[in-house]
């Protein structure tokens, strides 16, 4: 019982202090799980990053599930996951109810008017980072002329075209590009 509570509280701290997406949560997870609690060895933490990035879902939720399972099985996974989302769910609920109550107040309307373009820009910056990763030939090395994948660029352009011109669903694009990768691996190696 204590262990479940410990998992919940540790991951609640991580959830509370991770602003700006999953990458921001990683150093906090390393601090709690590796240094403070000793739940993971450093090499396991590196594995955790790799796997959290390879699987769908938020990195913080993936990490919580991974650590929780390792430490205390399925119930541990649930405790850690609930912990990591708890602070933000409460905070966002408060913000959401304030938003629905006061959205027509001039002050809030102005704040949102400023935040909207910034939000779009933040998504743009994330997109920029993802494009850089996607165009690499070898993921471990930095993007350069030698490490540039023309095939990925072609896939990117084709996907973009399918989205704009044929209004294909993003899920279709994810499935299709994944399938192309799987097929080319089976056929050519």
């Amino acid at each position: 019982m204590m262990l479940y509570l410990e998992l919940f509280l540790s991951f609640a701290q991580i959830g509370l202090f991770s602003f700006g997406g999953g990458m921001a949560a990683l150093p906090l997870i390393e601090n709690q799980a590796v240094q403070v609690k000793g739940w993971l060895a450093l090499s396991e933490f590196v594995d955790l990053i790799t796997i959290a990035e390879m699987t769908p879902g938020p990195i913080s939720v993936n990490s919580a599930t991974f650590v929780g399972t390792k430490v205390a099985g399925p119930l541990g996974a649930i405790s850690a996951t609930l912990g990591v989302i708890f602070p933000s769910v409460v905070l966002v609920l408060v913000l959401a109810s304030l938003y629905h109550k006061y959205r027509d107040l001039p002050v809030l309307a102005k704040v949102l008017r400023g935040l909207r373009p910034a939000s779009a820009a933040l998504i743009g910056a994330a997109g920029f980072a993802i494009v850089k990763v996607a165009l690499k030939k070898t993921p471990q090395e930095a993007l350069s002329l030698q490490n540039f994948s023309g095939f990925s660029l072609l896939l990117l352009i084709a996907s973009f075209f399918l989205l704009v011109r044929y209004k294909k669903s993003p899920l279709f694009i994810i499935g299709l590009t994944g399938l192309i990768g799987g097929l080319s691996y089976v056929l050519f190696s």
Partner: protein, 193 residues
């Protein structure tokens, strides 16, 4: 209006499906949600979507979880929020519980790596597409202040690696700047046709 029962089910199944496909980090949830709730179901519009993302980004935690909370709350109150949170965390919870049992072989599997590496190109296109759509909706309002906030934030984050929180605070304040309309200034009649 749909039956409430149906609405909860739709909320759960859509967030579950979207979460199961958010490869490549939390931001991927934005295009997926936009497609589902703005274009297909038409439950919210683009401005509302950007408002919700702005709120989600202003608090700590995973963007996908936060955005689903706001979406669920907007459509069905606290109960709706619980349904969408459950839908969002179940796929990674189930998948990771499974994978952590034999993660070494999953991590080193060449087929998995091949699928994921081409998938990244698709994910990049999806993000670029939603950025394009959202930027266009902001720029076609021909509001110079919004365009300036957008451009400045981009430069701050990409070139100067400024953390997200100061950028959000600055832009919230910038929302109080007077409206500079491109039309009124007569600076660029030909900027947007």
């Amino acid at each position: 209006m749909k039956e409430p029962q149906n609405l909860y089910r739709t909320l759960f199944t859509s967030t579950f499906m979207l979460s199961a496909f958010t490869f490549g980090g939390g931001y991927v949830i934005v295009p997926l949600m936009r497609k589902k709730f703005v274009e297909e179901l038409k439950w919210i519009d683009d401005v509302e979507m950007l408002n919700m993302i702005s709120i989600a980004q202003s608090s700590p935690g995973a963007l996908a979880v936060n955005t689903s909370v706001i979406l669920g709350y907007k459509l069905k109150g606290i109960k709706g929020a619980l349904v969408t949170v459950l839908g969002t965390i179940l796929p990674p919870l189930l998948l990771l519980s499974l994978i952590s049992l034999f993660y070494a072989s999953f991590r080193d599997n060449a087929l998995v790596a091949a699928v994921l590496s081409t998938m990244q190109a698709g994910v990049a296109a999806i993000i670029l597409h939603v950025v394009y759509t959202m930027t266009r909706s902001i720029l076609t309002s021909k509001n110079l202040t919004s365009a300036l906030i957008l451009f400045t934030s981009l430069v701050l984050v990409i070139l100067f690696q400024v953390p997200i929180l100061p950028v959000l605070i600055l832009s919230a304040l910038a929302g109080f700047l007077p409206d500079l309309s491109m039309k009124k200034e007569g600076e660029s009649h030909d900027a947007v046709s």
